[in-house]
Each structure stands twice: as C-alpha cells, then as structure tokens.
Symmetry: C2
Subunit: 219 residues, 2 copies
C-alpha cells in the first residue's frame, strides 16, 4: 500500500415531498466541518461492515433509523483534495424512500432539504447530490425506479405524478397506462382502493417477483 487512504461511504437519501425531491442532510458532529451540513456518511468499519453496501445500510440505520429502502451504489468520488485530512475515496450510495417513511422520528438529527434549495454542503457533497439526481432522472425514464419513492401500495395516478415530478415533464395518461400494462410489473391490491373526495382509485403494488424493472423503451 502506497500510503494511508481514507475510505468512507456517503448516502444520498431522496424522497418526494409534494412535488419536490428532497434530500436528507445531517449536521456533522466532528471536525473537519463540524456543525456544517453534509450527507449522512462515515468511515467504512473494516471489522463491522462486510462490504460497502453493508456500511451504507449501517449509516442509514444509525442516522435515519431506516432498515431497507431502495439502495444502490452511485459512484466513487475520490482524490487528494476533496477531504482536508488527505487522499480519500467516498463510495456514494443513493436511497429512495416514500415521504411517510421519514415522518416518525420527528426530533431527528437530520433534516430534509429540497434539492434545488440546498444549503452549502461540506466536501464535494453538492456534486454527489447532483450525481444522484442525474442517475435518478436518467434511470427513471426507462425503469420502474420511481416506484420506490412511493409507499408499498399506490394508485396509477400517484405513480404517474411521481414520474412527472422526477422527470420534470407531463406524461399522457392513456399512453402511460398502456405501457404499465405492457411492462407488467404491477398487480392490483385486491379490495383496496384509495378513497378520497371523488371516484375511488384502484391500488397497485410491485409484483413480488419483480425488482427493479428496466424497460426496452421509454416510459
């Protein structure tokens, strides 16, 4: 080994609050940059973490009490100058959760910030957030990724609006539903409807055997 290298994981946890994507930030407890806003993260613990995914899960568990959101490796940001302590590599992950997942812990050591009104972030964390947004938006056009921003059961209109907010464009209702039917990764939740102020809407969920679906064309 050439010299000691700092290895951390950082997690970009995204959720949809109303029409806006928000990201979970926490105040750093230690130097450098103590008290400033940063992504939840920390050193990889070689004794405790089997791999970097396990480290990311641990971070989410410790900082946001989350157990199993959608979690995917994003990119590794590295270099000599991104951390004042020395040459560092941050293995970045991004996580998607429904907004209500975060409600319970209210007096929490974290806050949700809209992605287009972020405070100044430590290190290169602003770039990491940008990378996560680019990945989310790019991948959402041809995958079922936005489902993970919703609770387990949702209506087709809710799903369409989620796609619209993530992609930043309106979609056609009938074309959207035709494609959902073609791709065939949802199933109706029997006898479950979203009952509101008007005609009730059928609830759907991701079919159990399907995980993230990649489509052969755009949604």
């Amino acid at each position: 080994m050439d010299q000691k290298i700092i290895v951390t994981v950082d997690v970009v946890l995204l959720t949809l609050v109303g029409e806006r994507l928000e990201v979970l930030l926490s105040r750093r407890e230690r130097e450098p940059f103590a008290e400033q806003w940063a992504l939840p993260g920390g050193y990889v613990h070689a004794v405790e973490d089997a791999d970097s995914l396990a480290a990311a899960r641990r971070v989410l568990r410790e900082k946001a009490s989350l157990t199993s959101p959608y979690l995917e490796q994003l990119y590794t940001f590295s270099g000599a100058t991104r951390d004042p302590r020395g040459w560092s590599a941050s293995i970045a992950y991004y996580a998607l959760v429904s907004a209500d997942t975060l409600r319970p812990a209210s007096p929490a050591p974290f806050e949700l910030w809209p992605v287009d009104e972020l405070p100044r972030l430590c290190f290169d964390h602003a770039r990491i957030v940008d990378g996560a947004l680019e990945r989310l938006r790019g991948k959402s056009a041809y995958s079922s990724l936005p489902c993970y921003l919703l609770p387990p059961a949702f209506t087709l209109t809710e799903l369409q609006q989620t796609y619209e907010h993530v992609l930043g464009q309106k979609l056609d209702k009938s074309a959207f539903r035709r494609k959902l039917a073609d791709f065939d990764f949802l199933e109706v939740v029997k006898d479950a409807q979203r009952t509101g102020s008007h005609r009730p809407a059928q609830l759907y969920r991701i079919r159990e055997e399907k995980n993230l679906m990649l489509f052969d064309r755009t949604i």
Copy 2:
C-alpha cells in the same frame, strides 16, 4: 480511520476482435496469486494519482501503453473477503478501444481473451468483467458507446456490425441509418472512403463537439 483498507483500481479494457468482445488480461507479478491471470490494476498511489481516474489512466499507460481510450468508472467492488490481505475496495473502470490500437506492442505483458472463454481469474475479477459487459451491453442500446470500439473513422456498416456484436442481435439497416441521422452525432469525413473489393463506403467520425451521446430511444 477504523483500520487500514486496501484501495486499488482495476481496469476492464474491452475491444472487438472480429465478431467477439475480448478483454485484456495480464499475469500478476506479485503475491497474492502471482503468475495468475488478472485484470490490469494496482494500488492507488496517494502521492502520484490526483484521483482514481488518474490512477486508472496510469494503469493503462503502464500496462498497455495506452494514453486516451474511452474510460469510465464502472463500480466499486469491496469487502472483507475479496482480497486475502484484508478489507479492500477496488474502484473498477472500463475502457473501450479499437482492436488496432493494441496491435503495436506485440511481445507484450498482456493478452486478449474472448469474454466468453476466460481463464480462471484472481480475486473477484470475473465478476468485474461481468459487470463491465453488462454495462457496455445495457448502455449500448441507447447511446453512442459502441463507436469507441472502432477507429476514429468508420463506415456505417462497420458501426452497425459493432452494435450488432455488442448487443447480440441483428439490426435493420434502414432503420439504423434513419436513427443515426436523427441523433446527428456523426459527420462525413470528406473525400475519405473505405475502398474494398466492391462499392466504396463513406467514412464517418464522431462530431467533434459530441462526446458520448445518450439517445431518448433505443438505437
């Protein structure tokens, strides 16, 4: 820092030889696994490498005398058990080059192996190769990535065949050319034709201002 962590870069260099994708492998010079086949790679040098991309470039320069191929970060493979020396993280990159780029250095410390007839590889390098192939194949369906498996100037038939070999399926000639025209990232090389045993073919190159193009639909 919790404990010392090994940080390396490994590069999956892919090229198209005839109809088959091949990957560059080299024999390891040191323990562990000395003399066995592995991806070109090595420790990140904190003093020498500005970041992991620079480290990957250095590896390619040292092991394959390559200066500027298409080079993109793939994924970071990490964990306590993938390297017998301890907890390690390999920041993996993949590179694409045209076959003729590798011809010059003939008595070289590396060999090209067809991706579906690989020898036993060290560490988890077989998984890393799989990841690179998955990325290449996935991304090729909606991007100009396969261009980088060709020399700077090429005919449209050569480009179509490259797509076909990477994607593993035949494409329609007229639809393929219509889409190339729509996406508009190629330009004719004036007065340059591939002259063979029959009708000559116009040579094209990637338009200078365009880098990797992502299409809004499949090629």
